[in-house]
């Protein structure tokens, strides 16, 4: 319901002369940001359409050509079962997207909601929420994820839940920080003074002004989610074969690293390029949306 209003905000936000229109103009001339955007669009394309467009079945084995290097038939080579590494790399994008979108989405919704509540009501409410956040932040996010997985067992959905929980305090803290400063703006007091309900003050008045900070932080967190998902599936704690993920591919390639390094290099490159693309996009968004550069961006592995 509330997020439906965000949609209408996004529509209105692109009026001529609005802050977002100006930001769009700034973004267009931000080279790094545009490169990042192109990479991210490419990544999204492969992640969504990949399984449909790839010429081969990612699990199809070909015992005739095992552990082959790059060639015309297999641009990225083949693995120890003779599966096409290119196909598997393209298909592997989907698992990382799934984990990143859902976990960051969860963290953003929960973090923004609690962060706004904390920054708007302040006082005891803020105190209670922030003490809970302190406890969660006391553990590194990957450790937190490992704890959740240790309890629930490995699996893609559990990774999503674990990362969602692990990233919530980060989103919450950054939202609350900006919310506290926006809370001091007189238009917020004005909205209270003309009788706006608290919920509307938070989401209609305050949220649009936090949006830049939130979107930048979400983009950067997205990159970390992809990295952590790769790490967890490398350790065998996330999705299980036959699901294809970049982390699984690297871990499989590790066993034959000396024979055919390409098996690990290409999924590794895919991770690097995607994470860099997201980071560039985040920097571009930050610069053009003029979000605070208070050093709170990044830091997924504290």
């Amino acid at each position: 319901m509330v997020y439906g209003k965000i949609v209408s905000f996004a529509r209105n936000g692109f009026h001529d002369g609005s802050q977002f229109h100006l930001a769009y103009k700034r973004f267009r001339s931000h080279r790094l940001g545009v490169i990042g955007l192109v990479i991210v669009i490419g990544y999204l394309f492969f992640a969504i359409a990949g399984p449909i467009i790839v010429p081969r079945d990612p699990t199809a084995m070909d015992s005739a050509s095992r552990l082959a290097g790059p060639s015309m038939a297999h641009p990225f080579g083949t693995d120890h079962y003779g599966r096409d590494v290119f196909t598997r790399t393209v298909v592997g994008a989907r698992a990382s997207l799934q984990v990143a979108v859902l976990s960051v989405g969860f963290a953003t919704i929960a973090g923004v909601t609690f962060g706004l509540v904390s920054g708007f009501f302040r006082g005891y409410v803020d105190e209670a929420i922030m003490r809970a956040v302190d406890v969660m932040l006391a553990f590194p996010s990957i450790l937190l994820a490992l704890v959740v997985i240790a309890i629930l067992g490995p699996g893609l959905n559990r990774t999503i839940l674990a990362l969602g929980i692990a990233y919530t305090p980060l989103m919450l803290r950054i939202t609350r920080g900006s919310a506290l400063s926006v809370r001091e703006e007189e238009y917020v007091t004005a909205a209270v003074a003309y009788g706006e309900r608290s919920w509307n003050v938070m989401f209609k008045e305050m949220f649009p002004n936090l949006f830049p900070t939130v979107i930048v932080q979400a983009t950067i967190t997205f990159a970390f989610a992809i990295l952590v998902e790769a790490a967890l599936s490398y350790l065998g704690l996330s999705a299980q074969p036959p699901t294809v993920t970049w982390g699984i591919m690297i871990s499989e390639g590790q066993e034959v690293l000396t024979v055919n390094p390409w098996m690990s290099i290409f999924p590794g490159l895919a991770i690097i390029v995607t994470v860099l693309g997201l980071t560039f996009l985040g920097i571009g968004l930050r610069d053009s949306l003029d979000a605070q550069e208070d050093g709170t961006i990044g830091g997924g592995f504290q």
Partner: protein, 704 residues
């Protein structure tokens, strides 16, 4: 090198431009002036007139995208524009020093005040560190900082605003400069502190034989401080002359407009004379005279010819850039003061009480208190509002004045229950609003409204004007559909002097004055009866300020509004108010009609506030009473009478006993031990100032 009779600084035809995406901004467009040794030279004008740019150009502090594109800046005969960066740096600080507007950001918080001054001295002088330190202590003593030997090691955050400005002045003085450029040095300070800083500058000027270039928007400061003044408008100097002449017989329509726009104590309390329109965008300045679009005397000729500066008046020292110099009768265009036999209407016949507050109290937690201390340790409070009772009658305007930090804004918000009062009751039209539940409170929000101080922070930057003004209507179901909302918003815009074409714009597309109008339209949307206006004009230029005050007056009449008008500017408050409450550290120390408050007997604090207002004509001779020090902390307010620490007339009993409220006559109330229980001043009471003498303008017809 330089002969002593040539001016210290000569600026000729200075042109400074800023390249922006939209075009070239001509911030200083052919400005010429000179400053003599030992002279205080004022540069006055509204924001955007190019005053600050002129000052920064002199010491070569114009940064990209700005650039000095033409002209000469001669200091002691040397053209500063031809000097290398290295040579320029040796002149900055050593010969020409600058004092900035905001003392809060001009000092580096990471270093002690002393270190920063010592470093300045070491940069320009060949001396040892201990010598520099000694000199610093001496300087701090000179600028009136108590215990300089200890304070030299304090960090900026341990200094109050006034002390920081003193420290900055000490820094400016540290290398014995010959010229100080002071850019709005007191704008960020309270009037009582402003008075102290001005006195200090005056003394130091005499002692060190300094020249001062004083950049300000406040004609009062010019009258108080300057020998000569130039008036700037849209990047150009439009009038210059000795201060006395400029004030007695201004010769430019804009200067006249500026002087008339300022509310004065004892002004006729009718409408303020506002200058129509706004300053032009410095990108496409109109051809001919840049003031032409706003000038009532403008003709076709003004469109064609850019007026040159020509001598106006005898002596040749007074020049003005107006083609109609000989045609306009400037003497009659100045609004005269109210003559003393004209008494204003007594503000007694107002309606029934609309707000009755009794024993209001509001405490806050101090900012630097950790939650551990808050819940487990000794709790401290900021005593923002302490036992305030007041009544506002329907249709009147109650003014609340006081220094920043006295709790006046908090009081305004508590009255609307935007802050929960800790004690006391607020009765609005017979209902106690402190008892109200959520839905009742929401209904109340359509009857009481608020106008805010900062037009830049009071409008949501992400919303259009239509949504900003229309939202309260939706919240209170006063419009059925978007068509109705639109119509109503257009009506409201017209009420505040704006129009339909502004509907779909965003706040950043408007000027400060227009934003304030939008804020007022939003407050009016729900058709309230009572409006709290929290410093609604203090962030605006004088000509805009006059328009907004007039508009508030008109709206009050049209909609039968009741205002609580909060301000620190006594001139503005007296202009708009019927009753005035003077606040000090959370308490109302004096209350009465405008006349009662502004005429003796006063509360000693009111007297100090009145005497701190800069005079509005240089020929007025008056004494100023300075309070001792600055506003004490509201966390541990002084015992007894809270004002006793700064009161020039404090007696022993003031330190221990809280004064009761005495009724002087009618409804004039003062809380002070200098008045006995019948409200008569005791023998100890003495008053030194007389407001009427202060504001009496010299007859413009008479030469001095």
């Amino acid at each position: 090198m330089s002969s002593s009779d040539e001016p210290l600084l000569e600026v000729e035809n200075l042109r400074t431009e800023f390249r922006t995406d939209r075009g070239t901004v001509k911030a200083a467009d052919g400005v010429s002036f000179s400053i003599e040794r030992g002279e205080t030279y004022g540069v006055v004008g509204e924001s955007g007139a190019g005053k600050t740019v002129t000052g920064l150009s002199v010491i070569g502090l114009i940064d990209n995208p700005g650039q000095i594109v033409g002209g000469e800046i001669r200091y002691k005969g040397r053209d500063l524009r031809t000097l290398s960066q290295e040579e320029l740096r040796s002149i900055r600080g050593d010969e020409i020093a600058m004092i900035f507007q905001d003392p809060m950001t001009a000092l580096n918080p990471a270093y002690t005040v002393g270190t920063q001054i010592i470093d300045t001295i070491l940069t320009h002088n060949d001396c040892s560190k201990s010598e520099a330190r000694e000199r610093t202590i001496k300087l701090l003593e000179d600028v009136g900082i108590p215990d300089p030997e200890e304070r030299v090691d304090s960090y900026p955050h341990q200094f109050s605003g006034g002390m920081r400005q003193r420290a900055l002045i000490a820094m400016a003085l540290s290398c014995d400069p010959d010229l100080i450029i002071a850019d709005e040095p007191t704008t960020a300070l309270d009037v009582t502190i402003q008075a102290q800083i001005l006195d200090l500058l005056d003394d130091l000027q005499e002692k060190h034989g300094l020249s001062i270039q004083l950049i300000t928007h406040d004609m009062g400061l010019v009258a108080e401080m300057c020998d000569r003044v130039s008036v700037m408008y849209a990047g150009k100097k439009i009038e210059e002359g000795p201060v006395g002449e400029i004030f007695s017989s201004p010769k430019h329509p804009y200067t006249v407009g500026l002087m008339n726009a300022v509310p004065r104590l004892n002004d006729p309390r009718e409408r303020l004379e506002a200058i129509p329109g706004n300053m032009p965008d410095l990108i496409d300045n109109p051809s001919g005279c840049s003031f032409r679009p706003r000038c009532e005397y403008a003709t076709e000729e003004c469109k064609q010819i850019e007026p040159p500066l020509e001598p106006a008046g005898a002596g040749g020292a007074h020049t003005s850039a107006c083609l109609k110099l000989d045609e306009i009768d400037f003497d009659t265009s100045i609004v005269p003061d109210r003559t003393t036999d004209e008494t204003p209407v007594e503000g007694t016949n107002f309606g029934e009480p609309i707000i009755e507050a009794d024993g209001l109290q509001k405490y806050f937690d101090p900012e630097n208190q950790s939650w551990f201390e808050k819940y487990l340790g000794d709790r401290d409070y900021v005593h923002a509002v302490e036992d305030v009772s007041l009544t506002v009658h329907r249709g009147e305007t109650l003014g609340i004045v006081g220094e920043s930090g006295c709790g006046k804004s908090t009081l305004g918000r508590v009255l609307l229950r935007l802050y929960e009062p800790d004690e006391g009751t607020i009765v609005y039209s017979g209902d106690d609003i402190t008892e109200m539940g959520r839905s009742e409170l929401r209904n109340l929000r359509s009857e009481v409204q608020m106008v805010f101080q900062d037009p830049f922070s009071s409008l949501n930057p992400q919303k259009t004007v239509l949504d900003i003004i229309g939202r309260p209507l939706e919240v209170h179901d006063q419009v059925a559909n978007s068509e109705e909302k639109r119509e109503r918003v257009v009506e409201l815009l017209e009420d505040v002097g704006m129009s339909e074409r502004h509907l779909n714009r965003y706040p950043h597309e408007f000027s400060g004055g227009q934003k304030q109008r939008i804020g007022i339209a939003r407050a009016l949307a729900v058709e309230p009866d009572f409006i709290v206006a929290d410093e609604p004009v203090s962030a605006l230029d004088v000509s805009v300020q006059a328009k907004i005050i007039n508009m508030l007056d008109d709206l009050q009449e049209k909609y039968d509004l009741t205002y609580l008008f909060i301000a620190h500017d006594l001139n503005v408050v007296q202009h708009i108010s019927d009753h005035i409450g003077v606040m000090y550290l959370g308490e109302i120390v004096e209350f009465g009609t405008v006349q009662q408050v502004f005429e003796p007997p006063y509360h000693p604090y009111t007297e100090i506030l009145l005497s701190s207002i800069p005079k509005h004509h240089p020929d007025v001779d008056e004494e100023r009473i300075d309070p001792d020090g600055e506003l004490p902390s509201a966390i541990h307010p002084p015992s007894g009478c809270r004002f006793h620490t700064r009161c020039p007339q404090a007696m022993p009993e003031c330190e221990t006993k809280n004064p009761e409220q005495r009724t002087i006559d009618g409804n004039h109330e003062i809380s002070c031990h200098l008045f006995d229980s019948d409200g008569n001043p005791t023998d100890e009471y003495e008053t030194t100032i007389d407001v009427s003498a202060k504001s009496q303008m010299v007859d413009p017809g008479e030469p001095q």
